[in-house]
């Protein structure tokens, strides 16, 4: 069961280690079986905690795996199988939510943040020449500045001849 940071008892209570896909379930055709595995990994076991049907031993997951393999054998495309399951169980079954009005923010926020962050960094570099003219003196406190001034004004002692 997928509970790696098993700190949380509430979740771990339902944890049972699983073998998921059992030998008898597999399709004879390797390519089809491969497709079934890939597709299963993107479908949620609806009664589990954040597990795909490929990883779960729950009876529902077993049923869903069987459905996926039946549809594949019947010649359905991946999209058709997904649509079939969404019609039955709702969008909740998809671990990769399709882009829609509800999920547009979800999918666009990381990209937007990268663009906005990139622009901010670019401005940081661009703005420097005008604004970043702070000389080291600016960071001195008035006392330190006075001390520096006194040192500079002190005559002789190898200082600049004036």
């Amino acid at each position: 069961m997928r509970r790696p940071l098993g700190l949380l008892l509430a979740l771990a209570l339902s944890a049972t280690p699983a073998l998921a896909v059992r030998p008898g379930e597999q399709l004879p055709d390797a390519a089809q079986e491969n497709r079934a595995r890939k597709l299963s990994a993107e479908l949620r076991c609806l009664v589990c905690q954040n597990q795909s049907i490929d990883d779960s031993d729950a009876p529902l997951a077993v049923d869903l795996r069987r459905i996926v393999r039946e549809r594949i054998r019947a010649g359905d495309s991946d999209t058709a199988i997904r649509d079939f399951l969404v019609a039955r169980y709702g969008a909740f079954v998809l671990l990769k939510p399709p882009v829609s009005g509800q999920t547009i923010l979800l999918w666009s926020l990381p990209g937007l943040a990268l663009v906005v962050g990139g622009l901010a960094a670019w401005r940081l570099f661009r703005r420097r020449p005008e604004e970043g003219t702070a000389s080291p003196e600016d960071s001195l406190s008035p006392e330190e500045r006075a001390e520096l001034q006194a040192l500079l004004e002190r005559p002789g002692r190898g200082g600049p001849a004036s």
């Binding site: 069961m1 997928r2 509970r3 790696p4 940071l5 098993g6 700190l7 949380l8 008892l9 509430a10 979740l11 771990a12 209570l13 944890a15 049972t16 280690p17 699983a18 073998l19 059992r22 030998p23 008898g24 597999q26 990994a41 993107e42 949620r44 905690q49 954040n50 795909s52 990883d55 031993d57 709702g90 969008a91 909740f92 079954v93 998809l94 671990l95 990769k96 939510p97 509800q102 999920t103 923010l105 979800l106 926020l109 990381p110 943040a113 990268l114 962050g117 960094a121 670019w122 940081l124 570099f125 420097r128 020449p129 604004e131 970043g132 702070a134 960071s139 406190s141 008035p142 006392e143």
Partner: protein, 657 residues
């Protein structure tokens, strides 16, 4: 009696925390050094009291005192000693007490190691730390008290969740908490700097050891959890993008960014506001993680509503601290002046690039983790955001970051020479491509992305270590030893940490080349696995201290037919909770593993099994281990060691305004 003592110590600790949260902070703001210095004593006393309280609960577990509700619910008299011990933090109340203990530990750490901090900085930092401690002590005492007694003590406990009965899980939570909660002190430093209006290179130096310490333990904690998942859960996965994992990954990503931006602040006095913001955000994400894990909101938004007391309590703490710190940030940040100039192509520029990608990756994880919760709470619509989302957002963001690391290491401060860096790195790139090509040849093709990942990892490892090699060889062959010793420890630390990231990339990419076999076997039958042969020798029952198991014995033979090992995967059922767990059989060769897990015995004769050959899989955890070793080296660097005061850290009179 001891339990009551612990209970009492916790309440006293709460009182001391309230003192710590007010008096030293007041002293710091008013410029009263005596009051500010009281923060140190308060932090030490608070730590001693919380430690006493924790020891009392531990004692109750060790003697199996089932009159304590918490012990009854999470322990069993037959449980091995180590799990009685770890059972203390294997449950909600106990783990929150550990949380508070670590919070107090870091406060006490500052009191002990940072004596030479300016008075006001010390007072304000420990004051803010006291505020956090007060909030969580209140949470413990009023909403999650681990010391409650039962009127009619039962004779036997309900046992610890068997999945948690594992040595890895015994040390994983304390490590993780040291990291997560360790960032609290960095947060306190940042809040203090904002309150006092002083953010400079000295501030960066003050937070450096604490940020490093928290980062090292968080890195180890996450890696440990991932390794535990790999060998305990039974199918060899190592990262699932589970909300609980994400809760620890988010502060890790921003904490890593903080570690790097603090370097720019220290060396160049630039990125002041950003560094403060990262310090605030990192601990806020730790708090958020605590809320997600502890409130039950993850199980379902409705579970939160069923038992809202604890969830609401943490939510209020979360809102108060995050809201408060951001308000403080908004009020004071504009007063912070930018520092030194630098060109985009420079060490600073590279570190800004690092921060950009780490922060956006953290945001992607944040959005993916919280979006379904918020959507359901707001509209009632239920969607799932699973691994495919994170693999399409957070993972690609890591690619430019990893590619840039070796270049960043070679760029000079202020203005760097990208072409020059490229010239010195071309041989690493060629070797990376060659490594990918050799992998392609050895595995007969394979997924192009995985091959690219292996190339990237090799480039990263070599590019990171090239610095050391370059420095070692500068004086000619005869001087290698002397030159190596002359390399500053922090440079070695950086090279090792970055090489660790490269090793992890190789390990993760190599999972694409694993072989998986699913089969049902009878005793005497064999299974071929990448040239190795597994033979099922027998199946039989095994009895443990607090579990019964069905174990299978396999012999593993290499291609030449010589026996390499006996593997004994098992399926256990724990007596206390009647819950099954699996023990996998593993054989390590080099950095690769043969991994066998068994499932049901379908018809009494056959046993279902999954067997894997996982090439270079151990690199996934050796990488982070190397990263932490880099962190430790950096922490031990004499020039930066805790307690060595930066000259500018002395208290300076504030300019009159």
């Amino acid at each position: 009696m001891i339990v009551e003592l612990g209970h009492f110590a916790l309440i006293l600790g709460f009182a001391v925390a309230l003192f710590q949260a007010t008096v030293p902070l007041w002293g710091a703001i008013r410029g009263d050094a005596v009051l500010a210095r009281l923060g140190s004593q308060a932090a030490l006393v608070h730590f001693a009291l919380v430690a006493l309280s924790f020891a009392a609960l531990t004692h109750a577990y060790l003697v199996s005192d089932f009159s304590v509700l918490n012990v009854f619910q999470n322990s069993h008299s037959l449980k091995p000693l180590i799990y009685k011990w770890s059972g203390v933090w294997g449950n909600h109340e106990g783990s929150m007490l550990l949380w508070v203990l670590i919070l107090a530990l870091f406060g006490a750490g500052v009191a002990v190691f940072s004596k030479r901090l300016p008075d006001d900085m010390l007072g304000a930092t420990l004051g803010v730390q006291g505020l956090i401690a007060s909030a969580f002590c209140a949470f413990l005492i009023f909403a999650s008290n681990p010391f409650l007694r039962m009127p009619n003590p039962p004779i036997e406990g309900r046992d610890l969740n068997p999945v948690l009965q594992d040595p890895g899980l015994a040390i994983h939570p304390p490590l993780l908490y040291l990291g997560y909660v360790g960032f609290s002190i960095v947060f306190s430093f940042a809040a203090a700097a904002l309150i006092l209006g002083r953010v400079d290179a000295a501030f960066a130096r003050m937070i450096r050891p604490w940020t490093l310490a928290a980062w090292i333990t968080l890195t180890l904690g996450i890696a440990m959890g991932s390794y535990w998942a790999y060998y305990e859960l039974g199918w060899g996965g190592y990262w699932f993008w589970d909300p609980v994992e994400n809760a620890s990954l988010m502060p890790w990503l921003t904490g890593t960014a903080l570690l790097h931006s603090a370097i720019v602040l220290e060396k160049r006095e630039a990125l002041k506001t950003w560094t403060i913001l990262l310090a605030v955000v990192t601990f806020s994400l730790s708090l958020l993680g605590t809320f997600l894990v502890r409130s039950g909101v993850l199980t379902s938004v409705h579970a939160f509503a069923v038992d809202p007391e604890r969830g609401l309590f943490i939510l209020l703490i979360l809102i108060a601290f995050i809201g408060g710190s951001f308000a403080l940030f908004a009020a004071r940040a504009s007063a912070l002046q930018g520092g030194g100039l630098f060109a985009p192509i420079s060490r600073e520029g590279a570190l800004v690039f690092n921060n950009l990608f780490l922060s956006v990756a953290s945001l992607a994880v944040f959005v993916g983790t919280l979006y379904p919760l918020l959507l359901e709470a707001l509209t009632g619509a239920k969607i799932s955001v699973g691994p495919p989302f994170f693999n399409l957002t957070a993972v690609p963001l890591m690619v430019p970051l990893f590619l840039a690391i070796p270049f960043g290491q070679k760029l000079a401060w202020k203005r760097g020479d990208l072409l020059g860096a490229g010239q010195r790195l071309w041989i690493c790139m060629v070797l990376g491509v060659a490594g990918a090509a050799i992998s392609a040849y050895a595995t007969g093709g394979g997924p192009i992305l995985a091959l690219a990942g292996i190339g990237l990892g090799i480039f990263l490892v070599l590019g990171a270590l090239d610095d050391l090699l370059d420095r070692a060889l500068r004086g000619g062959i005869g001087l290698i030893g002397a030159r190596l010793r002359a390399i500053p420890q922090s440079i070695t630390a950086m090279a090792l940490a970055h090489a660790g990231a490269g090793l992890m990339v190789i390990g993760i990419s190599a999972t694409a080349f694993e072989t998986e076999k699913i089969a049902a076997m009878k005793p005497g039958e064999t299974l071929a696995l990448d040239g190795y042969t597994l033979r099922l020798e027998g199946i039989g029952p095994v009895t443990g201290p607090n579990y019964n198991a069905i174990a299978a014995e396999f012999s593993l033979r290499d291609p030449a037919g010589a026996e390499l090992a006996r593997l004994r995967p098992a399926k256990r059922v724990y007596i206390g909770r009647q819950m099954p767990t699996s023990e996998v059989g593993r054989y390590r060769h080099g950095l690769s593993e043969i991994y066998v897990a068994i499932g049901e015995t379908s018809d009494g004769q056959h046993v279902d099994l999954r067997a894997y050959h996982k090439p270079y899989v151990l690199l996934i955890w050796l990488g982070p281990l190397l990263m932490s070793i880099g962190g430790i080296l950096s922490l031990l660097d004499r020039r930066l060691r805790i307690g060595v005061p930066a000259r500018r850290a002395r208290l300076r009179p504030e300019p009159a305004e």
